[in-house]
């Protein structure tokens, strides 16, 4: 592919791709996300290819491994176009029937459809399934149509048109103005206005300027950021390229761990393709804007997601947090002006440019605009990746999208914000996805939502987070290093039936000191789940201490003691 030399040529290339594709031609999309692959998607794809060959349909049917549409619970997910028939939990054994009946005879196979557990109704299309119905899938909606390894697929659904628009008709200042007007806020949970950050960096004097996409996602039990990069790497790149244009940066980095090998592979391939097409490199789309983007593999460790640690580690140093005297937008990576944004922040940029700030800012609430992608996991019926408009209540997410609690158990709490987040008990479930609302409730807007039911012990869960953080604390400051160990010691004794009167008060004091005295945000936030649980689930702690009983039956020593 020769490099594309102008936004006009880009549209021609797009038309070329589209005219070579017949929208009425049958096409089979199999989710090739890491969750579906683990449930056998690769075998399903291979079976389709073999069957289609066997039936001599190679010229008439397309098969592709596509990006994750989010319904991991029922993977492998297969969608058949042009009818958009959605089959779930497809096995290689189902494939020949699908090709013979659905592809050839246009017959729907009932047993592979989604059945609504409450009504018994079957859903033929993705959009009929309750899991998808209440979502607003602006970012992830096209995933299942696109092979993440194919830039042409991305172009076919309008990809890089925002970049074309920017190069053709917008100045960097206009781009920043648009992003500011959209009120796009940091999706890491910070809620920091992206436009403001970009503008500070643009105005800063140092050169060169850098941008970084934070795809570290160290929260245990969260996968949304990395899944997005895996499923739609070109959207991330397009957002970053537009950001660099606006900020005046000549280099960008994607900071990501390699626990999900596919994520890194897809990101690297996308960069290579974008270079070939002229969306990266010199004179992008014929303008005088040059840019390189590289994948930076992180060395592992929760604290690396924090901005000063992240930048120190990218400089090859030990990734310990620093006290911040300067803004990264003045002195960031290599002491140069740097914009660090979460992956989900970047992903929204093409959308804002394409549909305009006014329309974007109408989605969500006054102060929190747009959508948010979460990984919804734990004891909920529909585990997966979900995209919801800001302003939706957590009750809707858990019960309407998530389909309620597994095995008809009782809901206990929703954990949001990971090890530095908190718990939402039943009586607060009508809380909205909104930065301010969540902050007031002591919650952070991390990428993961984990549902706890009546059989989940909150004390155990808090102990789990404290154990995690005690291992992850860099050890530089005493309140964090020693505070965590002391809290953990008390938690261990409570869960082992040796809890004492006064332990809860002691925990409260320790967490307070830690919150006010720790050096970085990790230490300051480390006891947030503990504080939230003491507030909402104090009775569970008391049962452990006073009655030597674990109401959920999780804490081993206490539960066995009961059985004797």
């Amino acid at each position: 592919m020769a490099q594309i030399k102008s936004p006009e040529e880009l549209e021609k290339v797009r038309q070329g791709i589209l005219s070579g594709r017949d929208p009425s031609k049958p096409s089979i999309s199999v989710c090739a996300g890491s969750a579906c692959l683990a449930s056998g998607a690769a075998e399903v794809i291979a079976a389709f290819k073999a069957e289609i060959k066997k039936q001599g349909l190679e010229a008439d049917v397309d098969t592709k491994g596509a990006g994750c549409p989010g319904f991991c619970e029922r993977g492998p997910v297969v969608v058949i176009y042009p009818e958009e028939i959605c089959y779930l939990q497809v096995k290689p054994e189902d494939v020949s029937e699908i090709v013979s009946s659905t592809i050839k005879e246009k017959k729907v196979i009932d047993r592979l459809l989604y059945v609504d557990p409450s009504t018994g109704e079957k859903a033929v299309h993705e959009y009929d399934i309750p899991f998808y119905k209440k979502q607003m899938r602006l970012v992830i909606g096209d995933n299942i149509k696109i092979d993440p390894k194919s830039i042409d697929d991305y172009l076919a659904v309008g990809g890089y048109s925002a970049l074309g628009k920017v190069i053709r008709s917008m100045t960097p200042d206009q781009v920043i103005e648009e992003v500011s007007k959209s009120n796009l806020r940091g999706r890491s949970g910070s809620g920091f206005p992206a436009g403001f950050k970009w503008e500070s960096c643009r105005k800063s004097e140092g050169e060169p300027k850098y941008i970084i996409c934070n795809c570290h996602e160290g929260d245990p039990g969260a996968f949304a950021d990395r899944r997005l990069l895996e499923a739609t790497p070109h959207t991330v790149l397009e957002g970053m390229i537009i950001g660099c244009y606006a900020i005046g940066a000549a280099e960008g980095y994607i900071f990501v761990g390699d626990e999900f090998p596919q994520t890194v592979e897809n990101a690297r391939l996308a960069i290579k393709q974008a270079e070939e097409y002229g969306f990266l490199g010199k004179n992008i789309l014929g303008s005088d804007f040059d840019l390189t983007i590289k994948v930076y593999i992180d060395g592992g460790g929760y604290v690396l997601g924090e901005s000063s640690s992240l930048m120190a580690s990218m400089e090859g140093k030990i990734g310990e947090p620093r006290t911040k005297y300067d803004h990264a937008t003045d002195r960031g990576l290599w002491a140069k002006p740097t914009v660090l944004n979460n992956l989900q922040t970047w992903v929204n940029v093409p959308l804002i440019i394409n549909q305009g700030a006014d329309s974007f800012s109408k989605i969500g609430t006054e102060e929190s605009t747009g959508t948010r992608v979460f990984s919804l996991t734990g004891k909920v019926n529909n585990i997966g990746m979900v995209e919801v408009p800001m302003g939706m209540t957590f009750r809707e997410i858990v019960f309407d999208i998530g389909g309620g609690i597994r095995g008809n158990k009782k809901f206990k709490a929703l954990q949001a914000g990971g090890p530095m987040g908190g718990f939402i008990p039943e009586n607060l479930l009508d809380l909205q996805v909104d930065y301010e609302e969540m902050k007031k409730a002591g919650l952070a807007m991390g990428p993961g939502l984990i549902v706890a039911d009546e059989n989940t012990c909150i004390v155990d869960m808090v102990k789990y987070y404290l154990t995690f953080l005690a291992n992850e604390s860099c050890g530089k400051c005493t309140p964090c290093r020693d505070g965590l160990r002391h809290m953990l010691k008390i938690m261990n004794r409570i869960t082992e039936g040796r809890g004492q009167k006064g332990d809860l008060e002691l925990l409260e004091i320790l967490s307070e000191v830690q919150k006010s005295a720790a050096l970085c945000a990790l230490g300051q936030g480390a006891s947030d789940p503990l504080r939230a649980s003491l507030k909402h689930f104090r009775d569970e702690y008391e049962a452990h201490i006073e009655e030597k009983r674990c109401p959920a039956g999780v804490c081993k020593v206490l539960s066995t003691a009961l059985n004797i």
């Binding site: 890491s34 969750a35 245990p220 039990g221 996968f223 626990e259 999900f260 593999i297 592992g300």
Partner: protein, 150 residues
């Protein structure tokens, strides 16, 4: 891994001290762990003290300073897997093979690792061995799975 290959990797990163982490990651990807001789070579070539390299290799979680066993067992200990019973699975596997996460047994048969989320929460608790995912593991099933490996 011979010195030539180490040098190649270092050259790819322009021999800059700041690329230490990337160099070590790349070496480890090929060699599976970081023996002292390799670290010495890296130290010499990048002009970074061995102490500094040790500091880096012990600070970042990705690096391994002891050899791996023939089979690497990854048990997910992410929050979703945790609330679905991963701790019981970890305890059982630990008892069965006699090592804790981060360790390799004396016969170099197994290395046990836990991780934060494999992105397959719908299948949790999850064990991954050599790229194969074992889903919805109970402690007893985990035992059966591990026993199959020689």
């Amino acid at each position: 891994m011979d010195n030539d290959r180490i040098d190649q990797i270092i050259d790819k990163h322009q021999g800059e001290a700041s690329s230490l982490i990337q160099v070590l990651l790349e070496i480890q990807r090929e060699n599976s762990w970081l023996p002292k001789e390799i670290l010495e070579r890296v130290s010499e070539k990048l002009q970074v003290s061995l102490a500094q390299i040790q500091h880096t290799a012990t600070f970042y979680k990705a690096f391994r300073l002891v050899p791996k066993g023939r089979h690497e067992i990854h048990i997910c200990n992410g929050t979703s897997c945790h609330v679905r019973g991963a701790q019981g699975v970890i305890d059982t596997v630990q008892d069965l093979i006699g090592i804790r996460p981060g360790q390799t047994d004396l016969d170099s048969k197994f290395t046990l690792e836990t991780c934060n989320c494999l992105g397959r929460c719908a299948l949790g608790p999850v064990i991954e061995i050599e790229g194969k995912t074992h889903s919805k593991m109970s402690p007893a099933e985990a035992k059966d799975v591990i026993k199959k490996y020689e």
